[in-house]
């Protein structure tokens, strides 16, 4: 999963077009994108949509429900409980909040907690350990507000949080998902932020506008050079190499072989190489 596109659940045209933009996952949003007076409409519209949608098989369908401390949370879960939802995106998540969400279901669910407040950054490991958690999504805007900082193009104010999300996600085998870039008119700033997120080791990025999906997919896909090197590593293994050996001038050992396998797996998943 490289790209996660937020879709406001109260906008029929956007729901109808949601699968057109090549996002790896969609986050149908019942929380911040929907005004309080629109919550009921949005919930029912989404429920109808989820029942009739023709979902491409490789796309993750997720829903950002309202926070567990709100009345809307229970209404969200009550209505959507039996719909085809691959994961729930939980705002301002804590370990307790995740438990509460999980308790609403009689079957296992997957959860993507959003970490967007300073106390969550500090307690992130407890969130990551919770059953069902598959990823950590950094919410940069709310976090900066919580810290009393101003969001900037280079994102220095969320540098610590970014690093911590990547570190803990890696430690618990979760997907680290970067915050969305909110200035949809600033293409240069968006490209800069993509590079920053990738340099931190983020594995995916969320988006609030479809035009960001392509850049995200490009950035978080294995590059042509990475794929070629991984293929050469596999060819060397097939040819009988083992232990520590040299490929394309680089020393290869067990971790490099493992990474090459992962690279090829992701490349296949994203259609960058043939499955055969």
């Amino acid at each position: 999963m490289r790209s996660l596109l937020f879709i406001p659940a109260n906008q029929p045209a956007m729901l109808q077009n949601a699968f057109l933009f090549d996002a790896d996952a969609l986050i149908f949003d019942l929380e911040d994108a929907v005004a309080p007076e629109e919550k009921d409409n949005a919930r029912h519209l989404l429920h109808e949509f989820l029942q009739t949608m023709k979902k491409p098989p490789h796309v993750w369908v997720t829903v950002r429900v309202n926070g567990v401390d709100t009345e809307d949370f229970l209404r969200d879960v009550a209505l959507l409980r039996h719909d085809s939802i691959d994961a729930f995106v939980l705002p301002k998540a804590s370990a307790e909040a995740i438990c509460r969400l999980r308790d609403q279901f009689d079957h296992p669910i997957k959860v993507i907690p959003i970490v967007e407040e300073s106390y969550q950054i500090l307690r992130m490991e407890s969130i990551a350990k919770e059953e069902g958690v598959m990823a950590l999504l950094l919410g940069g805007e709310d976090l900066a507000r919580d810290m009393g900082a101003t969001r900037s193009k280079l994102g220095n104010e969320i540098a610590y949080a970014r690093g911590r999300v990547v570190m803990i996600a890696a430690a618990y085998h979760l997907i680290s998902i970067d915050t969305p870039y909110t200035d949809v008119l600033d293409d240069i700033g968006f490209e800069t932020e993509l590079e920053i997120a990738k340099s931190y080791g983020m594995k995916a990025k969320s988006a609030i506008h479809p035009r960001h999906v392509e850049g995200i997919n490009r950035t978080f896909s294995p590059s042509v050079e990475e794929i070629r090197f991984a293929e050469h590593v596999m060819e060397a293994l097939k040819a009988g190499k083992s232990g520590s050996f040299r490929v394309d001038g680089r020393m290869v050992d067990r971790p490099i072989v493992d990474r090459a396998k992962q690279t090829l797996e992701r490349a296949k998943q994203y259609g960058l190489v043939k499955s055969s």
Partner: protein, 502 residues
């Protein structure tokens, strides 16, 4: 009687059909005048040339929404209480209220134009013309004037700068609008030609309107507002659906081998068309190739491509914005062409026939790829061919881009209200939900199959649309004829009707 696209055509008209590609004979250009008369008012000019009831008056639309000349001429016609006037503006914009006023006062017999939007559309659809409302193509308009099918008594041509020999240029002056491509056939074939300017100079080194065809010049304080020439849609769309369509179109064109060194293209000025140009530009940079030419109405986007060395020349029939005006004046590779050179089917090698591909829009398209850009789904006149049918016929590959559904209405329909451009001239229909290839283009189908690019039939796309919207209820429209749509060869491709339902 029915024509080749199965439309019922009035018996006195020539139906669009197989003979539609035959070339016709041109008249000689008008006698050149030896003396250019100068006037300080419309009144003087009307008096001098003894203009009277029943005249046919033509205009160009290069000042677009900023045009002041058309309204001023209409006012003079009213003040003289002329009746039975016929008008041949190359296009009609909502600001041309003078025409609307003449129609309301029942002074107008016929209107012949290539595009119409606004009050005039509404009035002609109420049946207020005494004669016909005829919608031509840009190339067809030039052809009909040059063959004498359409005779112009007097052409009032707004001209931003005129010299004392009667030569005219659109590049200079406070009302500069750039190229005057739609005025050329009027200039060369109208019985009387009167330039109207707000900038008279001693002499012009370069001019597009040759004074030898000019009979009179009216010098006025203002011919219009140059800010008004900016077309309404000259920005790249930010709509994600439009961008997806544009991106998919570019991939398709590349897979078809159409974006190679030395190619030629035209896109409209609509947001999605311009986005195609943007993606093509990006691809050209990656492939390090140049285009031979881009043509049509020119926007700042194409000027950028010219100035960045990505295209050898621009062949410009009209400037859509002020950057294009600047470039047309400064850059010798930004070349002015006439509507005839652009799209007249009688020309030996019109620009439209040299195009590798063209990107066009549609308000509706049917299962046979017939396109409507003249009326909306309810039959209201909202546009017209302009150059649509000319370049659709000429280009090697003609692409129509559109959302499959707009405002809960499918753009693809079993039957469309008005046929502007015949489906045999449309090769690809690109939507956000898939691409359809005209079955006549087996060569394109084969190439897409080889490239592994999925494509659908029109019935399949229609099915997708109907799954989203349901099947639209069939409407019974008025069958009161108010005019017709003329194909570029002068045959009639469809009739126009009063607005409303039976």
């Amino acid at each position: 009687m029915k024509n080749l696209v199965d439309r019922e055509i009035s018996k006195d008209l020539r139906p669009y059909g197989e003979q539609s590609l035959q070339k016709s004979n041109h008249l000689s250009k008008k006698q050149t005048s030896t003396q250019v008369e100068f006037f300080s008012s419309y009144k003087e000019a009307f008096d001098f040339f003894s203009l009277k009831d029943g005249i046919t008056v033509s205009f160009h639309h290069h000042l677009r929404s900023g045009d002041g000349v058309i309204n001023d001429v209409c006012q003079e016609i009213r003040s003289r209480d002329f009746q039975h006037v016929s008008l041949m503006p190359s296009s009609i914009f909502p600001t041309y209220q003078g025409i609307a006023q003449l129609i309301r006062e029942h002074r107008v017999n016929n209107i012949v134009t290539s595009y119409c939007n606004g009050e005039v559309s509404k009035l002609v659809q109420q049946g207020l013309l005494q004669g016909d409302f005829v919608m031509q193509t840009h190339g067809g308009r030039a052809r009909s004037i040059m063959t004498g099918e359409r005779k112009i008594d007097v052409a009032f041509l707004a001209c931003p700068t005129v010299d004392k020999s009667g030569n005219g240029s659109g590049m200079e002056g406070k009302s500069a609008c750039g190229v005057l491509g739609y005025a050329i056939s009027d200039l060369e074939y109208a019985k009387k030609v009167i330039l109207v300017t707000d900038h008279l100079v001693e002499s012009l080194d370069q001019y597009q309107l040759d004074g030898k065809y000019v009979d009179g010049v009216i010098v006025v304080d203002s011919i219009g507002d140059p800010q008004g020439i900016v077309s309404g849609t000259t920005r790249i769309t930010r709509d994600p659906i439009g961008l997806k369509i544009a991106k998919d179109t570019t991939k398709l064109l590349d897979a078809l081998g159409l974006i190679e060194d030395g190619f030629s293209m035209q896109t409209g000025a609509g947001g999605t068309s311009l986005a195609v140009a943007a993606y093509v530009k990006e691809l050209m940079k990656q492939k390090q190739i140049r285009a031979r030419f881009c043509s049509g109405g020119i926007t700042s986007y194409f000027v950028e491509m010219l100035e960045e060395g990505l295209v050898d020349k621009l062949l410009d029939v009209q400037c859509f914005d002020l950057e294009a005006v600047r470039s047309s004046k400064e850059n010798k590779n930004h070349q002015a062409i006439s509507a005839s050179v652009y799209g007249n089917p009688d020309e030996t090698n019109p620009v439209s026939e040299q195009l590798d591909f063209v990107i066009l829009g549609a308000t509706e398209i049917d299962l046979n790829f017939n396109v409507n850009v003249t009326t909306d789904s309810f039959g209201a006149i909202i546009g017209g061919s302009g150059g649509h049918s000319d370049i659709a016929r000429g280009a090697f590959v003609t692409v129509v881009v559109s959302s499959l559904v707009k405002s809960r209405l499918p753009i693809l329909r079993e039957s469309i209200r008005t046929i502007t451009t015949p489906g045999c001239d449309i090769d690809l229909f690109v939507t956000e939900r898939g691409v359809a290839v005209n079955p006549l283009r087996t060569d394109l189908i084969q190439k897409l199959d080889q490239a592994g690019i999925a494509h659908w039939s029109m019935p399949e796309l229609l099915q997708i649309a109907h799954e989203m919207t349901g099947v639209p209820r069939a409407l019974s429209f008025s069958n009161e004829v108010i005019g017709y749509v003329e194909y570029r060869d002068g045959s009639v491709i469809d009739m126009l009707y009063q607005e409303g339902f039976e």
